[in-house]
């Protein structure tokens, strides 16, 4: 790979460090009783409320419909994800240092697979929370499930749940984009050198 491409690949890897500092996804809950807003932030290593007590208050509200408590400590994905990110940073830097195009291809492929698995996993969690309800819940509405949307918005009783990617997600997208860009310019410069030869 050319030096330029190598630099871009290491940049793509290094900006992943930023994902430790911003949420990857958010869920806003809109309801008349919460004009000040209430919602969750999903990070690579934690789930927290948008405001200090939001998570506890959402768990409090959810008990009426029999939804399980969201207990971040019990979600193993939050423990694994930081290592995956660190691994991706290391792999990206290795690809950059060795300059092997194959490694960059692999990096992109692994990245996309992980993203797909991650989103599917997120969907499964949402499905589980939305469907596995305590049969003794105070509020039971036949046929009603409370699975929040993967992306977009959905009315769940009095709450409009809006689920959308957050800053870290866009950092991931940018990282993949940069890696692809690095490969493209590398190919172009190769063609140019071939032509000159």
């Amino acid at each position: 790979m050319t030096t330029g491409s190598k630099i871009i690949v290491s940049l793509a890897s290094l900006i992943l460090v930023l994902t430790f500092f911003f949420p990857i996804w958010y869920i806003d809950l809109e309801a008349p009783q919460y004009p000040e807003g209430i919602g969750l932030e999903i990070w690579i290593n934690q789930i927290i409320g948008q405001k200090p007590n939001d998570l506890a208050n959402i768990n409090g509200l959810n008990h009426y419909i029999g939804m399980k408590k969201i207990e971040p400590d019990a979600i193993s994905e939050l423990k694994i994800m930081p290592y995956i990110i660190i691994f991706m940073i290391a792999l990206g830097i290795t690809a950059s240092l060795t300059g092997k195009r194959f490694l960059v291809y692999s990096w992109i492929a692994i990245f996309i697979i992980l993203a797909a698995v991650g989103l599917y996993d997120f969907y499964l969690w949402e499905y589980d929370y939305g469907h596995n309800l305590n049969p003794h819940a105070a509020i039971k509405i036949p046929g009603m499930v409370y699975q929040p949307p993967l992306i977009g918005s959905k009315m769940l009783l009095n709450f409009n749940a809006i689920s959308m990617p957050d800053i870290s997600f866009y950092i991931l997208v940018t990282a993949v984009g940069l890696a692809i860009f690095a490969l493209i310019i590398d190919k172009k410069s190769k063609r140019l050198t071939q032509k000159h030869e």
């Binding site: 007590n53 506890a56 208050n57 409090g60 009426y64 105070a138 509020i139």
Partner: protein, 651 residues
């Protein structure tokens, strides 16, 4: 004949019509003419008022919180009177707030709310208010809108002239309305002139708000009525009106109205500080309480004090001067520049306005008429800046708009009179309905008034509202003062008697308003931080219930093993950490009150069951969809029964 007849009919009907129009016109001016008044006071649903207004409750002992310009009531803050709704003065935690050297007092009469100031401008940190009957000053925390501290004032017969602040809350001042023997003792009332004295009290305000009686000045036995601190050039001085310089002890309405002039006492408190530093005071033993609320322990504490420093004018030259002021002056109000001191001579035909700079010159050139107990009396002409003539009957109080005008309430003629500072000419007047006492402009006693409105605080309402039997509401009237002519915008009823009110732009307070008490900061000795810690403990006849509330249940909600004759302490912690989710607690047969527990707080009520049986308890504040399910039972057994202590929720 026909013509004449027609003419007569025409003339007489014209007269009738003219009279009718005149009559209708009068009615119009008393009520409202068409215009944009409604739009000026309309705060659309969901929108906020521009100002918070704090009114004293007078004989209700509380403070009302209203919005301006809408006149909507938001809250009553319990201060000097018990309030069963909020368990104020009933819960174990709040009872110490009402402790005095006379024991626990369930009531007082609150007159003058005063906002704390920074650089002479209301800063929105605290609101001070006086208790008139058993002399005290309270400090209300404006982040929680609750009473944070109450200090008792010793050597005072009645704390009317209070609690006015200096530019940076260096002091809150207080003067005794009734003079007394000091120290108080058993003497013939007729020995008034010989034995009775007044005091002017300076309460130091610490940067965190803590109150402390710094010193008192012993003054001749008059009635001291109202006060205001100087500002700008007059910062360092405080002014107190007095009446009954005749020193009558009976039938004051006649006997205290004889002197042509009474006095405004001008006190140089910076000089007082020098005398205190020099040790030029006597220590007098007395008893007074300071009660304060600890926001982390969620509990009030009482502190008993036993000593106060007293300055005597004879021993402290330059400390105090008397400004002669016509006819039993009531209010004493300092204009925003700090130069002019307007007095409300309630029986006078003019409003005398004294000049601070002339007063200083008169002091320097010793322009004294006489002296009273070592206090020099300045010459009236030497200190007078001007007299406002045609000021209405019974002028009481003046506030300022910051644009060069004073507004004085006239009780007897029921009007507000607007006059120009400097020319002393009345430029406008507007009737009030009826018998106005104080008036209030936002920031109107500060260096920078927000001179948009004046609120008339009326004692009598008669026909202004739907009648409610013999006791009628008191009222406030909102008047626009943004133009040359004052314009009545709105009448609204008030709770208790709003002697005085102060207003502040909403944006200054709103951002500091607390939403919850963080549960992790709760240091109440009987709090629990989680439902699993809920329990019941017996210590002889005292049973302590460590109870939690969260939507939508109590823990525990079934309690057995209570016996007749027990003192059951329900210590209820509201585990909610969500804005506007208090829970209530009420148990059948409670002889005190309910509890209203705010998120993150712990409160305690004592319950003494008198008979065996089952007693329900429930949440009184509609908290959620299943609020009606938020309930529980206590089983009370005879004294000699063997029923074991047991408790739980959901078992």
């Amino acid at each position: 004949m026909n013509r004449k007849y027609i003419k007569a009919v025409l003339i007489s009907s014209a007269v009738v019509a003219a009279f009718a129009i005149f009559h209708y016109g009068c009615q119009e001016s008393k009520n409202l003419s068409a215009g944009d008044e409604a739009a000026r006071v309309y705060v659309a649903p969901g929108s906020y008022d521009e100002f918070y207004m704090f009114t004293s409750g007078g004989f209700s002992g509380q403070v009302g919180v209203y919005g301006l310009p809408s006149g909507r009531l938001f809250r009553q803050i319990p201060v000097f009177s018990q309030d069963a709704e909020k368990a104020y003065g009933y819960s174990e935690e709040s009872k110490p707030m009402l402790m005095t050297s006379f024991g626990f007092l369930p009531w007082d009469d609150a007159h003058h709310p005063e906002l704390s100031q920074t650089d002479g401008v209301p800063d929105g940190r605290w609101l001070f208010i006086n208790a008139n009957n058993t002399p005290r000053v309270a400090r209300i925390d404006l982040s929680t809108f609750t009473t944070a501290e109450i200090i008792e004032i010793p050597n005072s017969g009645g704390n009317h002239g209070s609690p006015f602040v200096t530019e940076n809350n260096e002091y809150v001042v207080a003067s005794t309305r009734f003079s007394l023997p000091i120290p108080n003792e058993d003497v013939p009332i007729s020995s008034y002139k010989e034995n009775f004295k007044g005091t002017l009290t300076f309460i130091k305000v610490a940067p965190d708000g803590k109150l402390n009686i710094a010193f008192q000045i012993l003054v001749p036995g008059f009635d001291y009525d109202l006060a205001h601190a100087g500002k700008g050039p007059s910062h360092g001085w405080a002014f107190f009106t007095s009446y009954n310089t005749e020193q009558a002890n009976t039938l004051l309405e006649v006997n205290a109205s004889q002197n042509d002039k009474d006095f405004i006492a001008a006190v140089n408190w910076k000089k007082a500080e020098e005398y205190i530093a020099k040790g030029n005071f006597t220590k007098t033993s007395t008893t007074y309480y300071r009660n304060y609320f600890d926001e982390r322990k969620h509990m009030a504490f009482s502190e008993k004090n036993s000593e106060v420093k007293i300055l005597t004018p004879e021993d402290c030259p330059g400390l105090i001067y008397y400004l002669p002021t016509p006819k039993s002056p009531h209010g004493v109000d300092v204009d925003p520049t700090g130069e002019y001191i307007a007095a409300g001579g309630k029986l006078a035909a003019v409003i005398p306005v004294h000049s601070f700079s002339k007063m200083i010159k008169a002091i320097e050139s010793k322009d004294f008429d006489t002296d009273v107990n070592g206090i020099p009396v300045l010459k009236y002409e030497s200190v007078l800046a001007g007299e406002v003539e045609n000021c209405g009957l019974g002028p009481l109080h003046t506030e300022f708009d910051g644009n060069g005008f004073g507004y004085t309430s006239a009780f007897i003629s029921s009007e507000i009179v607007k006059w120009e500072i400097g020319t002393w000419k009345v430029v406008d007047r507007i009737p009030t309905y009826y018998s106005i006492g104080h008036l209030s402009i936002p920031g109107g006693d500060s260096k920078k008034p927000w001179g948009k409105y004046v609120v008339a605080l009326n004692k009598i309402t008669k026909d202004r509202y739907l009648p409610t039997g013999p006791e009628l509401t008191q009222s406030a009237q909102l008047i626009d003062i943004s133009g040359d002519k004052m314009k009545l915008l709105l009448d609204f009823p008030t709770i208790g008697e709003p002697h005085y009110a102060q207003s502040i732009p909403a944006e200054i307070l709103m951002k500091n308003s607390k939403k919850i008490y963080p549960i992790e900061e709760n240091e109440h000795p009987y709090s629990i931080k989680a439902e699993k810690d809920a329990r019941v403990e017996r210590k002889n006849n005292d049973v302590h219930v460590y109870m939690s509330t969260i939507r939508t249940h109590f823990a525990p909600d079934n309690i057995e093993g209570i016996k007749v004759g027990d003192n059951v302490y329900f210590h209820v912690t509201n585990l909610e950490q969500d804005w506007d989710i208090p829970h209530g607690f009420a148990v059948k047969g409670a002889q005190n009150s309910e509890l209203l527990i705010l998120p993150g707080m712990t409160e305690t009520i004592v319950w003494k069951p008198l008979q065996a049986g089952i007693y329900p308890f429930y949440c009184t504040d509609f908290c959620s969809a299943l609020h009606q399910e938020m309930q529980g039972y206590v089983r009370v057994s005879p004294r000699n029964s063997n029923v074991e202590l047991a408790w739980g929720t959901g078992k």
